[in-house]
Symmetry: C2
Subunit: 230 residues, 2 copies
Amino acid sequence: MNFSFTPIGVIHSPYKEKFGIPRQPSLAPSARMTLELLAPYNHADTVRGLADFSHLWLQFVFHETAARGWRPLVRPPRLGGNDKVGVFASRATHRPNPLGLSLVELIGIDTGNGVILELAGADLLDGTPVLDIKPYIPFVESRPQARAGFIDGPPPRLSVCWSEKALADLAIHRIRHPELATLVEEILAQDPRPAYQDDPLRIYGVRLYQLDIRFRIAGDIVTTLEINAL
Amino acid sequence: MNFSFTPIGVIHSPYKEKFGIPRQPSLAPSARMTLELLAPYNHADTVRGLADFSHLWLQFVFHETAARGWRPLVRPPRLGGNDKVGVFASRATHRPNPLGLSLVELIGIDTGNGVILELAGADLLDGTPVLDIKPYIPFVESRPQARAGFIDGPPPRLSVCWSEKALADLAIHRIRHPELATLVEEILAQDPRPAYQDDPLRIYGVRLYQLDIRFRIAGDIVTTLEINAL
């Protein structure tokens, strides 16, 4: 038995690679993205009444990792990369069916030319194919008392510092991306390193928009070193 | 572009037809069902650690309505069947991609022979193909303040009465299904009629297990008339 789905829309996002994307939605609220509906779904009728909802579910495809298959056990970063849990007890991107599920905030809907949804707090890679949009129903789906195993709250945050070079670079690039400083801080504070890496000299790079953000992490301080156009 | 998915499991449920299923999960907590994982996913490893979570997301296929296609506008029962909203502003089963999303309670996991998850509060049709299981993450997904348009709380409930005949039938069938009385009351209290129907003489039937539950609705009172084995 086999079910086949066609994207109803595609995500346009500052996140150009998986590395650096916060591990849950809502952790980087400055990451604005858009969901562009594709024909024949891009008619104002399909989203009539949607603006009355503040939050939406997106069901989407992990298109970049889909080809890599799955394993029964995964190492969640929240367990320090040591303990293994079952793939269905995790939100790992490598799954038997590479389906994602994200709760996002709906900022606005533009139906002037096709349908574009403006979203905040989303954690989706640029180009992500979206299969469905559903309104969030708090009386059913908000369960603050749910027991959530090893995921008992937001992960600890690093402090973010900026080098002189990075501040100079920022001054240039924030003209085009006014939220860049906040977004970089939100993303780097999450500690994007793989769980088993802790080398204070190693320089990492994360792509945001068409920029490469270079940084280093020592202890619980992350330092933004420079921002280069790609 | 096209994505193809294979079920990882199948639902065994008392709900044998769409009519009568509460319109949101959690409204009929007595509806116990199981999710049987299919090979090669039915290994205890895939669910290691899952028992630490009280709630799960199921991403599944509306397999019975999938072939009927979709329309841009739908009439949600909560709006009395008069107003139309866009398909993406509703949780209607007829969608461009017939994907469902339900939050269910995890009661237990049996890994003695394959993997069977025991679930409560689910609203899935018997035989539903499940594509993915994800743990519920309250710090991200519980948003009690979310604005939810026309879905501002649970729907009003009808009062449930039992005819003498129904009570006699119940005495027979509750031997096999001890929760039957509660489940019937939970389901009928939701008013399963299509929104535009209001005929106090009309007798409806809803299938649960291998039983046909006959009932009538007048005003805000639903009367269970009889329970027949099918």
